[in-house]
Amino acid sequence: MPVADATRSPVGAGGRAAARSDPALLLLLLPPLLFLLAFLVVPMAGLLRASFSEGSRPYDVAGFSLQHYARLLLDGYYLGVIGETLLLGLASAIISLVVGFPVGYSLARLAPAKRRLRLVIVILPLTLSLVVVVFGWLVVLGRNGMLNSIMMSFNLVERPQRLLFNRAAVLVVLIQQFLPFMILSVMSVVTQIDPALEQASANLRANRFTTFRRVIIPLAMPGILAGLTLVFILSASAFITPRMVGGARVQMLGSLIYEQVTSLLNWPLGSAMSFILLVLTLLLTMGVNMALAVRLTSTRAEQHAR
């Protein structure tokens, strides 16, 4: 009978723990598994290894030394770049939350017909090539760009302003770039909040602001945290944006790594930087996950009543 025989049928039920004697499973599992092990896990291990290398050239993985990490963590310049990266990442995450939450919330509560167009506008930037989006911002913020043209025609300024190649411009582009992730994250979580809860809150004399504060936001917290984490990580790892929009004046870890790898050719140092970046992002993700897990079992909510 086909259903009982997992080997013959690709249509087997999911509950059979017959992994070892199931050739079909091996056929399914091995290719992706081997691929990921070979091209994800091993390179990451290699990266770690290279970061401890004694040399400072490409392909150099000999010896063991902490010199690169020492340089990164003790040199003022590199610490500054790490700090800048964290700062921009944080700012990007928080601002995109403030700006993206209303949009995500309204999308969740909107009727499907109205939602479609808006959703397309939100998702589209994610699918376009990053270089095209950033290039677009160059045209918007450039000397002869849209913003300058508008300001000049309204006589707000006499000469075209230099809007690019500073921190603010990088921040703006970073925010716009990753805003869709925040919006989608919020939308996804608010969709799961029963609208009746908002009505019940209103019936219990809470105005909209109080309802947001005490009902919607607490319940949306997992999505909010997920969005913050995602945007932070993406912003902190950015390299095209700070390079194209910030020029030499705004240095982030990502663009620094690129420089090390392509022009300075100090791959071990670049590896060390990459690893620091990786550790930062992993720590953040794990920290947020743990905080969320704790929240679900917390008794903090009942302190409201007593």
Binding site: L36, S129, T285
Partner: protein, 266 residues
């Protein structure tokens, strides 16, 4: 209704923020397309005049057209490979039980959480060690790596929604397993496949960060070409080329929209 002051403030703030966000999100693409039609010599907005001359220039440029072809070829092969590996993984996750399944699932999704520059450097060093750097194969490996999570996630989502009783009904109607797979399972999973495939294509086509690291001296991809060009020049041919990218991407997304609807994707 006579709302509290704070609620009125909220409403006003919301009605300002939301259109602002939608405008800002669409702005770069719109500006790029608009300024690509300039008749003038430099990149400005609003554009001077209306002319397709920069598109002519783009189509005449071997550099850009060559990289367009490379990108398309690469994206297509990436899509096929990614779908194959991803389908295998998704089926294993959805329909089989084995020790370490959760870990495997996390592994398939993990390229998403590693910063792309880190992936780029790590892979570059590994490929260099294998003498595969600066090759189409190396680039392909990188692209498959970053598209795999999307494919697995989309296929899995489609499978979770799939009603198994339909397969049981087919078997009850005397269909052997291969026929069930061919006539029932695959067609019903087709939207998920198309959706996953399109996203793999689009992601590969537009990818820049990884492609720069795994750069391929003999032929570059279009986004990398744009990036290289903009570092030294700044003229409307970039806008025309970028518009081409937008058109290709939009076209593919429209396919997904028609077949599956945006909601399933998000």
């Amino acid at each position: 209704m006579r709302d509290d002051a704070v609620d009125v403030a909220l409403k006003i703030a919301g009605s300002i923020v939301r259109p602002l966000v939608y405008t800002t999100l669409s702005l770069p693409a719109v500006i790029v397309v608009a300024s690509s039609f300039t008749a003038g010599d430099d990149l400005r907005f609003p554009p001077e005049g209306f002319s397709p001359r920069w598109y002519m220039a783009a189509f005449k440029s071997d550099m850009f057209m060559g990289s367009l072809w490379t990108s398309t070829k690469l994206a297509f092969v990436t899509m096929v490979l990614s779908l194959t590996l991803g389908m295998a993984a998704a089926f294993a996750i959805d329909r089989r039980s084995f020790p370490g399944k959760h870990a495997f699932r996390t592994l398939t999704l993990s390229p998403l959480i590693v910063p792309m520059v880190v992936l780029g450097l790590g892979l570059l060093q590994f490929l260099a060690w294998m003498r595969l750097n600066q090759s189409f194969l190396g680039l392909l490996i990188g692209h498959v790596l970053i598209t795999l999570p999307y494919v697995v996630r989309t296929l899995n989502a489609g499978m979770v929604l799939f009603d198994r009783t339909l397969e049981q009904a087919a078997m009850n109607l005397r269909a052997p397993p291969s026929k069930v797979f061919r006539r029932i399972t695959l067609p019903l999973l087709a939207p998920a496949f198309v959706s996953a495939g399109v996203f793999a294509f689009v992601t590969s086509f537009g990818n820049i960060t990884l492609s720069i690291f795994l750069g391929f001296a003999r032929a570059t991809t279009l986004p990398v070409q744009i990036f290289a060009y903009v570092e030294h020049n700044y003229d409307p041919v970039l806008a025309a080329v970028s518009t081409l990218v937008i058109v290709v991407t939009l076209g593919m997304i429209a396919i997904v929209e028609k077949l599956v609807g945006m909601e399933k994707v998000a």
